[in-house]
């Protein structure tokens, strides 16, 4: 019966939604823990280095991001977010052009990898010899970033699940009204 199939689909959708909600909650708890750890490690770094050595004086007001968030569409039309290192795309585009130049001019120009290497580590803004607590803070915030991106994808999936659930419930109601 169509109604029985619909009910089975509704059940599995509900279970998936509850599963996603539980995962979102656990990721939120983990994100809060990482952010708290990160801030405490920054305080520890200030204890070791001096209160004015880890603060707004050490970073520029305009900075290049190390990671970017990319979106792509999955098969069901949903957007998924993923984290990508900034500047990772460029080397492949420049390569062939370099070879063409070499052929034309006959000069062996060495491509400069430095221009396209990863952006400098923000840890260096605080000096080269930074205490372990500052590195720990960086690691905590990086993990937190990945968790935040996962949470955003999950949130979209949950919203989609809820709208699907509502749609199915409407359809079921129509079916039952029609049968009655």
């Amino acid at each position: 019966m169509a109604a029985a199939d619909l009910r089975a689909e509704l059940d599995s959708l509900l279970l998936q939604l509850l599963w996603d909600l539980e995962e979102l909650e656990s990721k939120r708890v983990a994100l809060n823990a990482r952010v708290e750890e990160g801030w405490l490690s920054l305080s520890k770094a200030r204890y070791a280095m001096g209160a004015k050595s880890v603060g707004p004086l050490q970073y520029a007001s305009r900075m290049e991001p190390q990671v970017c968030v990319c979106t792509n569409e999955a098969q069901n039309g949903l957007q998924k977010f993923r984290v990508v290192r900034a500047g990772a795309q460029s080397p492949e585009e420049v390569g062939p052009r370099e070879a063409a130049l070499r052929r034309r001019k006959g000069l062996t120009r060495i491509p400069e990898p430095e221009a396209f290497s990863a952006s400098p580590n923000p840890l260096n803004w605080f000096g080269i010899l930074v205490p372990h607590s500052l590195r720990q803070a960086q690691a905590s915030f990086q993990e937190g970033l990945l968790l935040a991106v996962d949470m955003a994808s999950l949130q979209i999936h949950i919203n989609w699940g809820r709208s699907q659930l509502r749609g199915l419930q409407e359809k079921l109601k129509q079916l039952e009204l029609g049968a009655a």
Binding site: E36, W39, L40, S43, K44, R46, Y47, A48, G50, A51, K52, S53, G55, L57, Q58, Y59, A60, S61, N124, W125, G127, I128, L129, V130, P131, H132, S133, Q136
Partner: protein
């Protein structure tokens, strides 16, 4: 002349020694720290600090109170006391005070140079400089591109000039070179301060030389620990170690070859003073870090300095103990403002 300190010290410096001992009695006690740790907000902390020697030092601060403002006001108070001592001092105590301020001057120079690298405005940077390290040529520091420029154009008239001999180079000041400049300047400064105390002789040398030896060795250990996994080579690292400590020369040579914490610990095991310190370091994020253990040992040595009379070391010890107290208060304030109270008792009690 034997025992000259007991005969001559009080003539020129007796008043100031009495004053600094009085100030030392105003350091926070264990009971004060227990009160501070129980505060729920920074406003509570301010109220509790009013009952101590700090008094109304935060009275002029506008809401909201931040940890940074508390730190700035505490520094200003310490600077006021220090300037009072310095303005009333005679030789050789006044030279001793000048040596003490050189450390802060080096920090200020590095702050200004790295701020220039980040294109910060000079006014912002000057506002954040340590007041004890003020010198008149500070505004001009950010125009220099290389250490030689910095020396010839700016610092040649300041007390930092003699510490520049090993630092002259034409390399542009990027992050690595700034770090190297900072450590080389500090190494020259520490060695010069040590020689000054040693030449002074008497009780001052007996009290200050072990303290400065520990400072030199501490720097060597911390530089080594923080250099693991960075682009600093072993030879470059060895050039940054101050040579006025107990580790010189054998320990420093071994330390330069260390590649991880365990190897560093094995070097420290050769020295009776440092072996128990390294054993007290907790593993992972649970226990004490090496910096904590070193701070505790420094506090112990500085408190012991007050057991001897008629020497300049009491002024150094008082300043360092005040700084530890400031670090403690800032740590407690950060734990309160972040509502993360598990580690709030990790301060180092002094009295």
């Amino acid at each position: 002349m034997l025992g000259s300190a007991e005969l001559c010290f009080n003539v020129d410096h007796g008043y100031l020694e009495g004053l600094v001992r009085g100030c030392k009695a105003g350091l926070l006690t264990q009971q004060d720290y227990l009160n501070l740790v129980q505060c729920e907000t920074l406003e509570d902390l301010k109220v509790h600090l009013q009952t101590t020697d700090y008094g109304n030092f935060l009275a002029n601060q506008t809401n909201p109170l931040t940890v940074s403002k508390i730190d700035t006001e505490m520094r200003r108070k310490l600077c006021g006391e220090f300037e009072y001592f310095r303005n009333h001092s005679l030789e050789p105590l006044s030279t001793f005070f000048t040596y003490m301020t050189c450390g802060y001057m080096i920090d200020n120079v590095i702050l200004l140079v790295s701020g220039a690298l980040q294109k910060k405005s000079v006014r912002d940077l000057l506002g954040r400089c340590h007041p004890l390290g003020r010198f008149s040529e500070m505004e001009a520091v950010n125009i220099a591109d290389t250490p030689s420029d910095l020396f010839h154009a700016v610092l040649v008239e300041t007390p930092l000039a003699p510490f520049f001999q090993d630092c002259m180079s034409e390399n542009t000041l990027d992050e690595l070179n700034i770090e190297i400049l900072r450590n080389k300047l500090y190494k020259s400064y520490l060695e010069a301060f040590y020689n000054f105390c040693k030449d002074h002789g008497d009780v001052t040398a007996e009290v200050m030389c072990p303290i400065l030896e520990f400072e030199a060795d501490r720097r060597a250990f911390i530089i080594t620990l923080n250099s693991f996994g960075t682009e600093l080579t072993k030879d470059a690292r060895e050039a940054l170690y101050p040579t006025c400590g107990r580790l010189y020369p054998e320990g420093l040579r071994l330390l330069a070859q260390a590649e991880d914490f365990e190897q560093m610990k094995r070097v420290a095991d050769h020295y009776g003073v440092y072996k128990p310190l390294f054993e007290a370091v907790g593993d992972g994020s649970g226990g004490k870090s090496l910096e904590d253990v070193f701070y505790e040992h420094e506090v112990k040595m500085n408190v012991l300095a007050f057991n001897r009379q008629f020497h300049c070391g009491v002024f150094y010890a008082y300043t360092k103990l005040r700084e530890q107290e400031m670090r403690n208060i800032v740590w407690i304030a950060e734990c309160i403002s972040q509502r993360h109270r598990t580690k709030i008792n990790s301060y180092i009690p002094i009295l």
